[in-house]
Amino acid sequence: MRAVVSSERLKLRSVASTHYALGAAALMVVLGVVWSLYVSGLADERGSVRAAAPEEGFLPLVQISLAVIGVLAITAEHATGMIRTSLTVVPRRDVLLFAKAAIVTVMTFAAATAILMTTYAASRLIAGERRLGFNESSFAGNVPTLLASALSVTVLALVGLGLGAAVRSTAAALVSVVSLLFVLPGIANYLPAPWNTRIAAFMLPNLTPQLTGERLSSRLGDGILPPWAALLALLAYAAVALGVGLHMLNKRDV
């Protein structure tokens, strides 16, 4: 298993798409700086503003960019035929998929944490003593949210990997990921109350605030899941997607 993980790590590092995806995710730092400069300027005019934290506002950019790594880890192999070469040298399909899952987990969690922390630090440095709303709580108080956000990125990447193994097509897997992140939560928003909150509480992007006991949105109000249940639901997304992916990978000829 360790040998296969080492191979999968090299596979990710040796293609340009991984670096592009990491670069796209790292744009969050740039956007966070621009945003912080902008709202700092507003605060200088008005005294104080209530601005969203850039590491939360731009989180979907990191989620989508790094989910691409999870998707491509398997769909690029199907698209090129490399999967047949891979399964010839690693005939155990569960070993291959779990090795991919392991390295996608490590790489996306490390990258997301680094990007979120850098954005966090840069925006607070720029904000300085100004009152911008997002910089009025302590770092210790923000750490759980930062880790929850990084975890949500990793879960989405694993969902991408699992769905990619199931559907084999890059486009189809990415559409599924985008649906989970944007489309389904959008639909849940407009269900009649109280079903909007009840359904939305289980949507992937809404699990992150529930992990730290924050409210979902002004429209949906507080979530219904305690942090441990939100964590379980988040992990269940990854587990179910990988389970379906493994089942399909095992079942079909390549």
Binding site: L10, S14, E77, T80, G81, M82, T88, V89
Partner: protein
């Protein structure tokens, strides 16, 4: 690895590819129909048959990429998917295009080597053996078919396996490459390895192979030595055309 006549014989199943009533059905199509034959060490066994005869499917079945509908394919007495480090026992080139075009030749081979704990020095050795050392750091996507064939052969040889399978490795190679493959196949067999080689070039096969297995419409048509066939017919090509006359599925009316 050159073996002399005085060396002790291999255990009975070592180096053998054995098919027992191997059958593969896709929907209504019987791609491989109750196929039984054995490929033995120390010879180049030519694997012939018209387009669509089931040669490539048979090779995929041997490697566990496709699951047989019934029957079994054994390598060294075991199903391929149960081999622990398969690269040390079996090397295969089924499709030279089954590589990620964005990866360099060196990284492609290193990714494969790592899965089976093959040391990195071996990657340089096989690149040298197939004559790709000069382009090792170039992206595989820019390779010609002939270069990809050489890369695929390098991958098959990485683990220094006893059993080798090549599906149309001569396609796309220049005359030097064709000669090189012929000499390589013969020297691999002379070292006591099992070599299963498919090709449509009869004149080339007559120079390379010792034994011939001919398939048509998924069934075994003939199993013979080249010498037996060329004694009964003027050339191997005449033998092939006579034996497969009833099995050609795709072709212009004659």
């Amino acid at each position: 690895m050159v073996r002399c006549a005085g060396d002790p014989p291999y255990p009975i199943l070592d180096g053998m590819i054995r098919l027992n009533h191997l059958t593969k059905r896709y929907g209504d199509t019987l791609a491989v129909d109750d196929l039984s034959f054995t490929v033995e060490p120390g010879h180049v066994t030519g694997f012939l048959g018209p387009n669509g005869a089931g040669k490539s499917t048979t090779m995929r079945l041997i490697l566990g990429l496709d699951t047989p509908t019934s029957g079994e394919a054994l390598v060294n007495g075991r199903p391929y998917t149960t081999l622990g480090r398969p690269m040390a026992q079996v090397g295969a080139l089924l499709d030279a295009g089954a590589v990620h075009g964005g990866r360099s030749a060196y990284h492609h081979l290193l990714c494969l080597a790592r899965t089976n704990d093959i040391r990195e020095r071996r990657v340089a050795e096989v690149l040298d053996l197939v004559g790709l050392t000069g382009v090792a750091r170039r992206r595989v996507g820019g390779f010609s078919l002939g270069m990809k064939q050489r890369l695929g052969i390098a991958a098959a040889l990485l683990g220094d396996p006893r059993v080798l399978m090549f599906d149309e490795p001569v396609n796309g190679l220049d005359p030097n490459g064709v000669r090189w493959i012929r000499d390589l196949m013969r020297s691999l067999a002379a070292e006591g390895r099992t070599v299963l080689l498919s090709s449509h070039l009869m004149s080339e096969m007559a120079l390379t192979a010792d034994r011939i297995v001919i398939m048509g419409r998924g069934k075994l048509i003939a199993e013979a030595t080249v010498q037996e066939l060329t004694t009964r017919y003027p050339t191997l090509e005449d033998a092939y055309l006579a034996l497969t006359a009833g099995s050609v599925q795709f072709g212009a009316a004659r």
